[in-house]
């Protein structure tokens, strides 16, 4: 089992983005690998902030990218990569905490 926290950021409201950011930062501060998966309103609203420490990886949901007609260039340097839900789940299930925000 990996010392990993996986956060699905679905919501795009400021309060929930703040909560996600605080949890991601808290996990990273405890030495965990933190992976954030931006989807739906979360991808639309996401802006560069406290997430981008070395230990927090940010992925954009490929399905949402198509839906919103966005490209990786539109999101860099916020987003490390574009990935599908199955790949995210595959990594999340090896970890210790998975949250849907």
């Amino acid at each position: 089992m990996a010392d990993r926290m996986s956060i699905i950021v679905f919501s795009g409201t400021v309060d929930k983005l703040m909560a996600a950011s605080i949890l991601a930062t808290g996990g990273a501060a405890m030495g965990m690998e933190v992976e954030v998966f931006l989807t739906f309103w979360g991808l639309d609203a996401f802006r560069k902030d406290g997430y981008k420490t070395n230990t927090v990886k940010v992925y954009a949901c490929s399905m949402t990218m198509e839906l919103f007609d966005k490209k990786l260039e539109d999101l860099e340097p916020i987003v490390d990569d574009v990935t599908g839900v199955a790949t995210f789940v595959e990594r999340a299930k090896e970890g210790k905490i998975t949250l849907f925000i």
Copy 2:
């Protein structure tokens, strides 16, 4: 530990039902057992959709069934069974991912 994803579907809005469905399908595609527990607005709004593959089990929350005065016949073939929260939790804790949507 079981290779299981447990999803509590509490919300009944279209966007969250879609997210739950995509995550359930993604988990099943990776070979995980997926269990969905419909409760509150999730039970009220739930309609037959992509969930019902062989590897996704759908349970209705018994407390919510009473609250909404619904019977299993009203929900079949969407729902496999009616169960209590304790039973759902008992299975979820053996799994790898549990989400509240």
Copy 3:
């Protein structure tokens, strides 16, 4: 791994507080350690209810306490202690289920 369920109560609406309470009670009924972390609207709205069995511990988020200018005396006997997100995460990652509500 501890037989623990950790619930982050972020939302303050009655339906979500009820869901959190039912899940906490269900987990405790199955013999799990249950820890609730009240944050944001969840801390603001939280009232003494079914949570306070012996096996459910309730923590208030220290950052939210400062934000809302609340003191532990304002919340007792609802809240067992005030804690930071990192401490909560540290305990959650040793457990079996972590939920964000």
